[in-house]
């Protein structure tokens, strides 16, 4: 388990359980590997059930320790998913921008999470494999700059502007228009990013944005949502935490702090 190299300031630290969901082969594991190890390579560890990794993300006011559950993609493992998203405070629902069916699957996961996961779970919709599209080539250069100094808020705005420009992508492998996914994300109150685990575009931004979107209230107890809800009943473990978050309102509002991980 690699840890962030950021200096250990006595900032309040709290852990956040994050689960990755999505169709097989959309690059869930690669995203995590990029985030945790800043690496991209063929994942030699087969994912049985789910892989568990941790990574710290330091915000100006606090440190977030992500406990990442990277679930197996094979369809039949879907019935195990409730075990992993139980009590998760954040979820990354990943699809492949070159594969429309994966967005459909992602929508199902979003619906599943909204109905079954902890109330107030922060969901980010992520279109991966941006490197296979034309915009991926364009933005590849910008990305490091963004990640270096600019605040996440700016990054998001920039991404927003990009999206508009990117909309009509032509002659590349992209099959899911940015606008289609982003408008869906807006409707459902999700964070939305397009990333490339291969080039690293937007990967860190996703996690930073999630860290910022986690409501303080659910961080107080370290592991806010549902701590102490005893029995592990599959799929029905609805925690007693009633801190509901309207993401539609607060998503952009809270995304002002930068992340130095």
């Amino acid at each position: 388990m690699s840890e962030s190299t950021s200096t250990n300031t006595p900032k309040p630290s709290s852990s956040v359980k994050l689960v990755l969901l999505g169709e097989a082969a959309v690059g869930k594991s690669s995203l995590v590997l990029r985030f945790v190890n800043n690496d991209f390579q063929e994942n030699k560890e087969p994912t049985i059930g789910a892989a568990f990794l941790t990574q710290k993300c330091s915000l100006p006011t606090r440190t977030i320790k992500f406990e990442i559950w990277d679930t197996a993609g094979q369809e039949r493992f879907a019935s195990l998913a409730p075990m992993y998203y139980r009590n998760a405070q954040a979820a990354l629902v990943v699809y492949d921008v070159t594969k429309p069916s994966s967005l459909t699957k992602a929508k199902h996961w979003v619906a599943e999470l909204q109905r079954q996961a902890s109330p107030g779970i922060v969901i980010a919709l992520v279109g991966n494999k941006l490197d296979l599209t034309n915009d991926g080539i364009d933005t590849a250069g910008e990305a490091p700059a963004e990640a270096d100094g600019e605040s996440a808020a700016d990054g998001e705005e920039a991404a927003g502007e990009n999206q508009e420009e990117q909309d009509v992508a032509s002659g590349d492998a992209r099959k899911v228009p940015t606008r289609e996914a982003s408008s869906y994300a807006e409707e459902e109150g999700l964070l939305f990013f397009e990333t490339s685990a291969k080039t690293g575009v937007n990967v860190v931004d996703v996690f930073t944005a999630i860290a910022n979107a986690i409501p303080e209230s659910s961080l107080k107890s370290g592991r806010g949502a549902g701590a102490g809800t005893g029995q592990t009943s599959l799929g029905s473990g609805r925690p007693a935490d009633d801190s509901r978050v309207n993401l539609g309102e607060r998503g952009p509002a809270t995304a002002k702090e930068g992340c130095a991980c």
Binding site: S15, P46, G49, W69, R76, S79
Partner: protein
């Protein structure tokens, strides 16, 4: 020597239940059959059943090799070992176990399930043997003391090689049977029979045994030692990739050599592979870890996969060649994982290893398509391939998936989830403090333990240790996984009590696994204690401290949690499935979708259970023990059909669809059980153990079978041959039950009959439509159709008793529907004479309209509306039979005009059709039909908004009016239909007596009419064929024809009425009935005539408007019609 009892034997064999009943196959594995317990204990293939069993004593000879291998104490221990136990005989195996278990039909289940032997579980536990009958070379009955019945068995052990060693001593041991003489004789007879049948298998045995390393070890190695180089020194058989890429671990450290020597010794004394006899040493040798080259073979024997391979040695290669070049989803998935399976082992960095892995996984995915491929299988198979050949791994994988890890790799992985629940509950029971801590820290145990079970610790522990666990696992069964898991937690208990979250939990265990080879007591003074590794400690804790965890424990726990796990999977599947139903499903509420989903799968489930039981019954009746044709695959008596269990059928055939409709709509319930089904339920009633399912089936409404339902089926199904999917059903219902839209419903109905999709329904179709309308309405309307108040008011002025029920009025509507359809139909060939005829019709109708305002003589094909008493009998006869209609006192000329108008419409020489606008207009022109399509038709599909259980209640079903008993049940029908029939409370009036009788006759008339019209069409069609030239036939002649044929109507129409099942009984309306009607007519003259008038006025007015519409039906949007109706209401 056994002859003297043979006669008695035969007689007894007939009485002995074991000889003529199949072992009870229950439909639930909650109650595992004795046969399956038997198979599990001796690791037999699913084809085997316990045939005979007897208490016996196994007497082993003093090993002939013992003299050469000193050690007197051990010799003493072994010399002439005797084991008391039970001897079992199946079709192809003879098994002995020291455990006093019994699988005879008479044995209590406790005697079958209670195992308390050394291994406490399934598998070849205790001492004894499992020997295929084909391995037995000779059986001798020993002459011994009077009452002792001794058999000496000689096996093929070691004698299958081409060349025999001169000093070869065959394996021979004695069994003393204890029991009555008859019992012994019976057992021997069974044995003789089995031996005879199994003789042909010896060739398979030769092939299979040749792949066993033990054969090489015992013969080849010896030969080499003696002669240096002989032809006998053959290549060693394939003992896995390890032979090429080295076996994991340090062979010296593992003391592989001495283990090998010990095993060689054991094999020499106790037989090898197929003829191995288990003595205590066997279990000990396994516990200390198998030597590399024998590991695969011993796994094969202890798991029982050897017996599958023996049965069909070529299955693996055959499967590969049969499916070579084909593609599948599973293959794609396999390809993705090939490079990620034990990548640290050099064999799987090579093409050779990857190729083997690919072939085994692919072959299995073909042979068991239900499982196909599941991630984690790649890891398990990769591990197996290090120690076994491809074919061996293939069969062992099959045993793993089907028996050792049931449901683990299924598409829902319910077995995995279930065992996690079991594991959690065991942790809670055995380590309550730790459990409480985990619960408090909100750490979910299964996120850690799931991979342990799913990949058999191979991915969690260093390989050498994982294989040690596997050694015991294959011998003792799944409980080993639990014992090891519990031991891991117990050993790390203190550290685990400090953890706060998933992360630390995982890291504690990770570091523990990485130090398994270190000393468990590094600081101990005692060097012996220091030498104990953590892994050894783990094994001791697992099998000593958790020895109370037996197979029984696991089975009980699985039973306990099974429902909850399946339900959670199913609710997950349901959520997912409903969410995936696409945009159309949004028209229905979530509740509705839930109801559809449940009902859909319930029907599929029920049908599967029924099929299964019928199949069992069929087999039982054959009184033959038919061996399963396929060697591999899920156990024969496993549970099937539940969504949570894995792949279940996803499509309904037409019969299942009928069941579904019957559960959804009242009209789809049959009037009376069809004879065929009756028979089958009677059969089912005789099943043993049918219990719950039986009552369940019996309470189901019997589905009707009607052409309308067939049309619905074809309309909904994307591919009728494939059946109808949930998606199809939802889409179909979404259109009907979506936002209320009468136009949509009318069009939907029209489309059902628009066979060619050209927007036209022909004559035949019109008749079928009217039949469908009657079919759909025959069980009443549940108040969805109410005649307008104004009409009621008018009626109220008249005799209360003479009110017609809604249903009867609906009949009238249907009749006018037919009439109007024909009236307004378009000719299919405008240039033909039909056009003129049509025009005449129009004229006639126009005239009629103007003529009959304020009058009451509008004629309907079914003359319910008509207040005139003549109508009852004229309903059928009206148009076709002029003579009779002329007899009528009232407006004969009008009748004539009408029939003249109608006749051309029925003339097959003039094909005609109606279009959707026409159909719409005709429907909207009638208040009842409009209501029918507006509310009744869509609402007759009951979803979440209706309590359906009413249907199942028998009291209602007795109330249901059927056409075959319509006379008697009429009053109830009225009650059901919700229409207020004031006079109906007077009780049942027999048909032909009074008003009710008349109405009954009207009903049957309606049906007769449909049949009649149809018959006429057929008649005319035949006529047409006979003389295509006689186009100029005038109407009189045709009418005469009609009249003639009608005399035989009763039978002819019954034939013509192949339309549907419901009509058949009624078509046989007899002449007597008609005469009865005549008397009724007299009775009814007077008040009733008047009472009808009001309504007729209304319908006449409607007709006027109809005509108006007809004239401009192309330009006038049909939704003007509601105005018409309200106008009528107002005026009347």
């Amino acid at each position: 020597m056994m002859q003297w009892t043979s006669f008695v034997q035969k007689a007894q064999s007939l009485i002995d239940p074991a000889n003529f009943t199949l072992p009870t196959l229950t439909s639930s594995d909650r109650n595992p059959s004795k046969a399956s317990l038997f198979r599990q204990q001796f690791r037999l293939p699913d084809s085997q059943n316990p045939l005979q069993e007897i208490t016996a004593e196994l007497i082993l000879p003093i090993p002939h090799t013992s003299t050469s291998h000193g050690d007197a104490t051990r010799n003493l221990d072994r010399a002439g070992n005797r084991y008391a136990g039970r001897l079992h005989l199946s079709e192809r195996f003879i098994c002995f176990s020291t455990q006093p278990t019994s699988f005879a039909p008479s044995a209590s289940l406790g005697a079958s399930t209670h195992w308390a032997g050394q291994t406490n579980g399934t598998g070849p536990s205790g001492n004894g043997f499992t020997i295929p009958l084909c391995c037995i070379r000779r059986v001798e009955r020993l002459n011994s003391l009077g009452h002792v019945f001794s058999l000496a068995l000689t096996t093929w052990n070691g004698a299958l090689g081409k060349q025999q060693n001169p000093d070869f001593v065959p394996q021979r041991f004695t069994i003393q049977l204890a029991g009555s003489r008859q019992a012994c004789e019976r057992f021997c007879d069974g044995l003789k029979k089995g031996l005879r049948e199994c003789m042909k298998e010896i060739e398979n045995l030769r092939v299979v045994v040749n792949d066993c390393y033990s054969e090489y070890l015992l013969s080849g190695a010896k030969a080499k030692a003696q002669n240096g180089e002989t032809p006998e020194a053959r290549q060693p058989p394939d003992a896995g990739l390890g032979m090429m890429f080295r076996y994991p671990g340090d062979a010296r450290k593992l003391r592989d050599r001495s283990k090998m020597r010990l095993w060689g010794e054991y094999f020499r004394e106790n037989g090898r592979n197929a003829t191995l006899i288990r003595q205590p040493t066997f279990h000990k040798l396994i516990r200390v870890g198998l030597p590399n080259r024998l590991r695969g073979e011993v796994w094969e024997i202890t798991s029982g996969s050897f017996y599958l391979r023996l049965r069909s040695p070529k299955l693996y290669t055959d499967t590969l060649s049969k499916f070579s070049g084909q593609e599948s989803l599973a293959i794609d998935e396999i390809e993705k994982d090939l490079n990620r399976s034990l990548p640290e082992y050099p064999g799987f960095q090579s093409e050779e290893g990857i190729g083997r892995l690919r072939r085994v996984l692919t072959a299995y995915s073909w042979i068991n398509a239900e499982i196909g491929y599941c991630q984690a299988m790649n890891i398990v198979v990769a591990a197996l391939l290090i120690y076994m050949s491809e074919a061996q791994a293939f069969f062992l994988l099959s045993v793993l998936c089907d028996r050792l890890l049931p449901g683990y790799y299924s598409t829902t992985m319910y077995g995995t989830l279930l065992d996690q629940k079991v594991f959690e509950s065991l942790v809670e029971k055995t380590m309550p403090v730790l459990w409480e801590h985990l619960t408090k820290s909100d750490v979910q145990l299964s996120v850690v333990s799931l991979p342990w079970f799913l990949s058999l610790y191979i991915n969690s522990m260093p390989l050498v240790f994982a294989f040690r666990v596997l050694d015991v696992f294959f011998l003792e069964g799944p409980k080993v996984l639990f014992q090891v898991g519990l031991a891991i937690l117990r050993i790390n208990g203190e550290e685990l009590l400090d953890i706060q979250d998933d992360g630390s939990f995982i890291s504690v265990l990770k570091s523990y696994f990485s130090r398994l080879d270190e000393s468990a007591h590094p600081r101990s003074e005692n060097p012996k204690l220091r030498a104990i590794t953590r892994f050894q400690e783990l094994m001791v804790v697992a099998f000593k401290e958790f020895s109370q965890i037996t197979h029984q424990t696991i089975t009980e726990q699985r039973d306990k949690h099974k429902d909850a796990v399946l339900e959670s999977i199913e609710s997950f599947a349901k959520r997912t499935s409903i969410r995936n139903l696409g945009p159309d499903s949004k028209k229905l509420s979530m509740d509705d979708l839930g109801v559809i989903y449940d009902r859909y799968y319930e029907v599929l489930y029920d049908r599967q259970q029924r099929d299964k039981l019928l199949e069992e019954e069929r087999r039982r009746q054959q009184k033959k023990r038919v061996e399963r044709t396929s060697i591999l695959g899920p156990p024969v008596d496993r549970e099937i059909g539940r969504v949570g269990l894995g792949p279940s059928p996803t499509h309904m055939d037409y019969d299942a669809f009928r069941d579904f409709l019957a559960a959804t709509a009242k009209w789809a319930v049959a009037d009376s059980p069809s004879p065929s089904r009756k028979d089958s339920t009677a059969e089912q009633g005789s099943f043993r153990g049918w219990g719950k399912t039986s009552s369940l089936l019996n309470s189901k409404p019997e589905p009707a079978d009607h052409e309308f339902m067939q049309r619905l089926f074809r309309k909904w199904a994307t591919d009728p041959d494939e059946g109808i999917s949930l998606q199809n059903v939802v889409n179909g219902l979404a259109r009907l039950r979506g936002p209320r839209d009468i136009m949509n419903n009318i069009q939907y109905f029209f489309d059902l009959y628009d066979d060619n999709g050209v927007g036209m329904v022909d004559r035949e179709g019109i008749l079928r439509m009217s039949e469908a309308l009657l079919f759909l309405s025959r069980r009443g309307f549940d108040g969805t159709i109410t005649p307008t108040q104004s009409v009621e008011d008018i009626r109220a002025n008249e005799n209360e008793q003479d009110k017609l029920s809604t249903y009867e009025r609906f009949l009238g509507s249907v009749s006018s529907f037919i009439r109007r359809c024909f009236e307004y139909a378009d000719p299919s060939h405008p240039e033909s004479r039909a056009a003129e005829g049509q025009k005449e019709t129009d004229d006639a109708a126009d005239k009629l309209g103007s003529f009959s305002i304020g009058d009451d003589d509008e004629e309907d094909l079914i003359d319910v509306d008509d207040g005139d008493t003549k109508s009852t009998s004229s309903a059928v006869t009206e148009k076709p039979a002029k003579p009779e209609s002329e007899n009528k006192p009232n407006n004969p000329q009008h009748n004539r005009a009408l029939s003249q108008a109608a006749n051309p419409a029925l003339d097959p020489n003039n094909p005609l059709h109606i279009t959707l606008p026409t159909f719409r207009m005709v429907i909207l022109a009638d208040e009842l039909l409009e209501q029918f399509f507006d509310s009744f038709f869509p609402q007759s599909f009951r979803l979440s908004d209706h309590g359906l259980h009413v249907l199942a209640s028998s009291s209602l079903s007795s109330n249901l009016t059927t056409f075959s008993n319509i006379g008697a049940a009429k009053p109830q029908l009225s009650a059901v239909s919700g229409a207020s029939v004031a006079g109906a409370s007077g009780g049942i009036v027999p048909p032909g007596k009074g008003l009710r009788g008349v109405l009954d006759n009207i009903v049957s008339d309606g049906i007769r009419m449909a049949a009649e019209v149809k018959k006429r069409m057929d008649e005319a069609q035949r006529e047409l064929e006979r003389s295509a030239l006689s186009r100029a036939d005038d109407e009189e002649e045709e009418d005469d024809d009609e009249y003639d044929t009608r005399s035989g109507a009763a039978t002819a129409s019954a034939m013509a009425g192949g339309i549907s099942s419901w009509g058949a009984g009624v078509y046989g309306a007899d002449p007597e009935r008609r005469s009865v009607r005549d008397t009724d007519r007299d009775l009814l003259e007077g008040a009733e005539v008047v009472s009808m008038r009001g309504k007729d006025d209304a319908s006449l007015l409607l007709d006027d408007d109809d005509n108006g519409h007809k004239d401009a039906h192309n330009s006038n949007p049909p939704h003007d019609d509601p105005h018409v109706i309200s106008k009528v209401e107002f005026e009347s």
